[in-house]
């Protein structure tokens, strides 16, 4: 994880809030929600590619966090713990949906490489929304790997373990995601 550690003062404040929330104080938990909801929602939105879905996921993340908080012993920063929890909630949901749909394989659908990938793509401030939209268009597994690797900073082996797929498959999804993104963005 590449999440920066909160500064000491923030960390102490956070630890106090966590401790109060663990005792069942919902006001303390709300304060924790206020300071983390934006990041959690961003993660859910980018991993799911859908606002409504992201709302449901973020809801589930915080409900689960409340339930699991008594088991949080403070080995990691709360925000780190919460992000891992969020990733797990999203991945669990995706696995559940895959089981229900039954046809979507966790492997790769092959598609042809196109010359688009050779085009230079510039991404500046004005293109940010295009990039968000392009990420949302990616196939589920490619999007998941891309977001975990490029946005969240997880390593290949960590992603492989979390998604229960081979490291080589992680690499393939990542490369495919980048190729598709370049196609989407160069249109």
């Amino acid at each position: 994880m590449t999440l920066p550690d909160p500064r000491d003062a923030d960390a102490a404040h956070e630890a106090a809030l966590v401790s109060r929330a663990r005792q069942g104080e919902s006001e303390a938990f709300e304060a924790l929600y206020r300071s983390t909801a934006g990041r959690v929602f961003a993660l859910c939105l980018r991993m799911s590619g859908d606002r409504e879905r992201a709302r449901e996921l973020a809801h589930d993340v915080f409900v689960r966090a409340w339930e699991k908080l008594p088991g949080f012993r403070g080995e990691a920063a709360f925000s780190t713990w919460l992000h891992r929890l969020a990733v797990n909630v999203v991945l669990e949901r995706q696995r559940g949906e895959r089981r229900r749909q039954a046809h979507e394989e966790p492997g790769l659908e092959e598609d042809d490489e196109t010359p688009a990938m050779r085009r230079v793509v510039r991404i500046d401030e004005g293109d940010r929304l295009d990039l968000e939209a392009a990420i949302a268009r990616l196939p589920t597994n490619a999007r998941t790997v891309f977001v975990l690797h490029e946005v969240q900073g997880y390593r290949h082996d960590e992603i492989a373990q979390a998604m229960a797929i081979a490291e080589g498959t992680v690499r393939a999804h990542l490369h495919r995601a980048r190729r598709l993104l370049m196609e989407f963005l160069s249109r």
Partner: protein, 242 residues
Amino acid sequence: MSMHLEWDRLNDCVDGRLSAADEADVREHLAECRDCRSAVDALRALGAGTRALPPAIEPPPGLWQDVAATIAAGGARTGKPLSSRPPDSPPVVPVRPGPSRRWLAAAAVVLMALSSGITALVLRRDGVAPVPVVATGTPTVPTPVAAGGTAPVVPASFAATEAAYLDNLAELHAAFVAQRHALAPTTIAVVERSLLTIDAAIAEARAALVADPANQALAELLSTSYRQKVELLRRAAESSET
């Protein structure tokens, strides 16, 4: 000039995942091939653009209220006595205004979760002999302490939690019955089928907890089942508002 670099090698190059030998080959090719250099530049720009995305995005309004309502409906956390909350203020589940959520999908998740949960949990407590689970023949009885009051008593630590759930559920169930006319027949059928399953799971978890009052995992399971019933009824009520 040699053939262009493969896409995988370009990616590995950008990610710093090439072996030393490959790295030398790739560098050599890049030095003389403008196309591949462009591709590497594009990959780097994509990575930089992605890393520059804002780390936070404003969540939709009302999300905290939903989270708070769900938490309140869940009563105390399992393993925690309710005593930290005033005993005379049972959790309130406000019915949200606005469009219905995908509660049918939620119901499906509930069913999946419940069908596998209890058996595994009851049978696999570490090293302890399996707890005999009394299967209920009447899953339609929604509340274990209904009218007759003959249901065996759950441990004291769970009694307050259960009472809060039952208050909530009575209210939500009444709302559901009152709104039936506004619901499509298929919706009613799905809700009622889901309720049967959840009630059966509640009865099963409850019986197991009565037989093994110190088992926190069973208390947690029972609490989860109640919470899922609350959620199902709440979503059903919402769906009738649209």
